[in-house]
């Protein structure tokens, strides 16, 4: 170590001292330290002095060392009146000032303010509506007290290589679970019955929807008994009404103990009235019937299904005891069905029926299964619209930021003056943030108004009954946080940007916001338009897909076709009814069926045909059980063969196949082939095209067998073809008395097949409509922003345009000049948005079998639309600026 270094304090310590000491103390402290060092060195030598230097440095470390000088004119702090330090930037006086300035600015630029507040309000309103919708979806079923311990028992089975999952279980499963497995606190069986039943009070008839359900269900689902017995489903001949139904049936009278007739068959006593379930609940009913009533009402229940483990048609709800892991229970109950079918090796090997529990929390939004695994469900749309809501909000915020920054030059002088007078940066940030928060609150009030006005329409669109929960503090909390967040987010960029201006530069000659300032603004415009364009492309593709499904050839004529729920009387008097209807001239054809014309309700395995293997027995064929005139009534064009005919007595053992079934069976000449099912030979009499009677109109058509059925129990519907020569309303009028005559226990209730078929597009229509609204609003908000920006640009370039015009520029060229920039931005947005939208929509289409392929056309159309909208929006401003007399614009100096 050289001499020169040892007789000086350590360099690092000196540098550290230099760095951390506050400027106003630096000179004296460094001087003192040096002086002490020299004196100690003389007294004790350099090494000790160096050590003491470091020790002194360490002991100097204290906030007082680096704390900045509070004020140049140092004044004591403890007196009240000479305190001139900066006021806290959220001091009430300052806030009052911010608010005043904010209002003055709003009033001064009315157009900007309207665009700003309006845009933000629309964005918030959409986000709020979507929020309400998501909340409604997520809170479904939560009103049940046992929400966490309730489960639906589901069944997975493999048929023909495909593992499917269903609610439908054999009748005895519930009893088995209840008696043999201690994991369950309660088990309630129910019938999955579709359609309505007739309730008769005096001479009034009502069609209402209800279900047979175990008595435990009342407690399990914590149904609120408003009136009557606490265990109302114990006795077989009782009925529980919802308050709504009770009112419809009995008016103001007390319904308890009253007798009503069900399906014109049995008399039931009203034992209780329960509160109607909220609309988003899974368990919906107008009335409940005791599970035990089924056996008493239908002899076939006791005779065929009570001990039958192969007929799946009933459901089971269970409640686990507290603290039991459902996975554990799943392992226990997995093979309950299999153990009763064990005599069939085929089932064991191929079908592999497995029971498992599906928790209530997943009933609504995670209801889809594929290959025995839960694959989500409606939750994907909830997520999707959550993202949409966020998009819209972000777009509205971007607008706000863009307009505010664009106006920054106008506010720059204010910033300069404020800074010169002595406000700090944080004060300016505070000012702009509180200004934007104020605007956000004004937008919130406006958004509330919009939501209140639009909620009824939104409700009818989504078929819900949602309301703003004004009484809920959580709601207000969310609104408050949401608004402040929006305000801060929207104001952050202008706040940070404006406050960074240098006062000297501003006051000398205005800031020249060059390329660096307009680049972020351009990026924001691109982001905004990318969002909007993605939404636009998405919506168009959803609509295309929907239209594609609606245009699918369905193989039968759904117009002029109605279905009527069957009843005992109707099937007994069928021939008389048929003759009278045909004679009236209103009806051209009528047939019986086990399902409504637009659906299949039954499917069966166990078919064998020429050349079939034992494994083929597990192949599932959908089954329509019918009688004469099915093909004629449905309006199907036969491919081969003929309809069931009264002229051939052998047709009672006939069967009609669709093309998919012919293909599955591999029959070369199907007509005349003999198939075997349910221990009976059946001759193929005809082949029909693949009619679309699937649950989803986008599914592949499954192999279908239409069997001739004499058994009355299998008739659930009558399909009626209205005489094409007669107007449907007139025909209905003529039919009504005939049906009333033969079906005294039921009101005449009919459904048109075309409207029923259209209901299959419910989700696509819902999603399509919602996304159409969202994307139109997104475009609208983006355009508002664009309009504001364009008007600002035009204003800013007034002089430039004036000079150009003096030098001979035409209106068109000035228009082009102003539009060019924006058009470029929109094209860039399209280029970014197209692949994103293409990818996302391809993912969406994955879930459909019958689907469109996305063509380039959509993207071109959207590009054209976006350009057209952009040009329309900015042209007003551009042309206005271009038409301005240059004398006026240049004189202003």
């Amino acid at each position: 170590m050289s001499q020169k270094q040892t007789n000086r304090p350590p360099g690092w310590a000196q540098r550290l001292l230099e760095r951390i000491t506050a400027p106003h103390l630096r000179e004296e402290i460094q001087g003192d330290m040096d002086e002490l060092f020299q004196k100690r060195a003389q007294r004790h030598g350099y090494p000790k002095a160096r050590l003491l230097y470091v020790v002194d440095l360490l002991l100097l470390l204290h906030p007082r060392l680096w704390r900045r000088e509070p004020n140049v004119n140092f004044k004591a702090r403890y007196t009240r009146y000479n305190d001139v330090s900066n006021p806290f930037f959220f001091h009430p006086t300052m806030i009052r000032n911010y608010v005043k300035i904010a209002f003055r600015n709003l009033v001064k630029n009315k157009a900007y303010s309207a665009i700003n507040i309006g845009g933000l309000a629309v964005g918030m309103a959409v986000a709020m509506l979507i929020g309400i919708w998501i909340n409604d979806e997520l809170s479904a079923n939560k009103h049940h007290k046992n929400y966490k311990t309730l489960y639906q028992v589901k069944l997975s089975q493999t048929f023909d290589g495909q593992r499917g999952t269903q609610d439908a279980l054999p009748f005895p499963v519930g009893e088995e679970l209840k008696s043999k497995y201690p994991d369950f606190k309660a088990v309630a069986m129910y019938d999955r019955g579709e359609g309505n039943r007739s309730l008769i009070v005096g001479n009034q008839k009502f069609l209402k929807q209800g279900l047979f359900i175990g008595e435990e269900a009342i407690d399990m689902f914590s149904l609120n008994i408003l009136n009557g017995d606490k265990n109302p489903l114990k006795e077989p001949y009782s009925i529980v009404l919802s308050d709504e139904t009770a009112k419809a049936l009995f008016g103001q009278q007390d319904p308890i103990g009253k007798i009503l007739k069900l399906d014109n068959k049995v008399d039931l006593k009203v034992t209780a009235v329960v509160a109607k379930q909220p609309k988003n609940a899974t368990l919906q009913f107008d009335y409940l019937l005791p599970w035990s009533l089924q056996e008493n009402m239908y002899d076939w229940v006791a005779k065929y299904v009570k001990t039958n483990w192969e007929n799946n048609g009933w459901g089971v709800f269970v409640q686990l005891k507290d603290g039991i892991d459902p996975a554990q229970t799943n392992a226990k109950i997995k093979d309950v069905i299999l153990s009763h079918l064990s005599n069939d090796p085929n089932t064991r090997k191929l079908v592999k029926p497995e029971l498992f529990l599906h928790p209530m929390a997943k009933w609504r939004l995670y209801s889809e299964f594929a290959e025995g695994k839960n694959t989500g469900g409606f939750i994907k749309y909830v997520r999707l619209f959550g993202i949409f809501g966020l998009f819209i909000l972000v777009i509205a915020c971007i607008n706000f930021m863009n307009l505010s920054t664009a106006r920054s030059e106008k506010r720059a002088k204010e910033v300069g003056v404020r800074k010169a007078v002595g406000s700090g940066r944080e004060q300016l940030i505070g000012q702009f943030l509180s200004e934007s928060t104020l605007i956000a609150f004004m937008a919130l009030v406006l958004a509330f108004g919009m939501v209140l006005i639009s909620l009824p329409y939104f409700n009818s669109l989504t078929t819900k009954t949602m309301a703003i929960e004004f009484g809920n503090p959580v709601f207000w909390g969310i609104m408050l946080v949401f608004t402040i967040f929006t305000g801060l987010l929207a104001g952050s960029y202008p706040a940070l940007y404006l406050s960074s201006f240098n006062p000297v530069k501003i006051l000398k000659g205005g800031v020249h916001v060059g390329k660096s300032a307009s680049l972020p603004r351009k990026i924001l415009v691109v982001v905004q338009f990318t969002f909007s364009i993605v939404l636009m492309i998405g919506t168009i593709i959803i609509y295309q897909q929907m239209q594609h499904g609606k245009n699918r050839p369905i193989g039968f004529t759904k117009q002029g076709l109605i279905s009527v729920s069957s009843s005992n009387d109707l099937t007994t008097n069928f021939e008389a009814l048929r003759n009278e209807l045909l004679a009236s001239g209103a009806v051209s054809s009528i047939c019986k069926s086990n399902s409504p014309p637009t659906q299949w309700w039954s499917s069966n395995g166990g078919w064998s045909w020429k050349g079939s293997t034992p494994e083929d027995k597990s192949a599932i064929f959908t089954t329509i059980a019918t009688n004469f005139d099915y093909i004629k009534t449905m309006g199907i064009k036969l491919k081969e063969g003929r309809d069931f005919s009264r002229d051939f007595t052998t047709d009672s053992s006939g069967v009609i196949l669709n093309e998919a079934a012919v293909k599955r069976m591999g029959l070369k000449h199907p007509v005349g082939e003999i198939l075997k099912w349910a221990g009976k030979d059946r001759t193929v009499v005809g082949v029909i095209p693949d009619i679309v009677v699937e649950w989803s109109p986008y599914q592949t058509v499954r192999p279908l067998t239409i069997i001739f059925e004499k058994d009355r129990n299998w008739v659930s519907f009558l399909c009626v073809r209205i005489n094409p020569a007669m107007a449907p309303s007139l025909a209905i009028q003529k039919m009504a008395p005939i049906f009333d005559k033969y079906n005294p226990g039921f009101p005449f209730d009919y459904k048109f097949s075309d409207t029923e078929y259209a209901k299959k597009f419910y989700y696509e229509e819902l999603i399509g409509n919602l996304s159409a609204i969202v994307s139109v609003l997104a475009i609208f908000i983006s355009c508002l922003g664009l309009f504001g920006l364009a008007s600002f640009m035009a204003e800013q370039r007034t002089k430039e345009i004036g000079i150009r015009k003096v030098l001979g520029a035409s209106v068109t060229s000035v228009w082009g000049l102003l539009s060019k920039d924006f058009v470029l931005l929109v094209i860039i947005s399209c280029l970014i948005a197209s692949p994103v939208a293409w990818y996302a929509m391809n993912q969406w289409l994955e879930s459909y079998t019958y689907k469109i392929t996305i063509g380039a056309g959509v993207f071109l159309i959207v590009l054209m639309m976006a350009l057209a909208i952009t040009l329309l929006t900015i042209s007003y401003q551009a042309i206005k600026a271009a038409l301005l007399n240059p004398v006026k614009s240049l004189r202003s100096e």
Partner: protein, 112 residues
Amino acid sequence: MKGTQLGEFEEIVLLTIALLYDDAYSAAVVEELSQRLERPMSLGAVHRTMQRLEEKRLVHSRFGEATAERGGRRKRLFTVTTAGEQVLQEARRIRNELWADIPKAAFGGGVS
């Protein structure tokens, strides 16, 4: 008046500033105290105390001359203000009164 309370160390530093009269700056106070109290003093403690005294307006400061051993840097010279003097007098009076009132027997009559 708030701030008349003096800590023990503050009192000692204030007295030293008065003692050094025209040449009272941090390093000098450190030197003086180290010698008188016979224990090493840290610059940090002294400097902070002097800052605090100034905030209490018991001393006021000005820049003095620069010397070579300070690397050409100026000293900050402190002078006791009238308020400072009053506080010192007050502290002294209290002590004197206390001493005067101590009974002779307390220290075994050994004080004279």
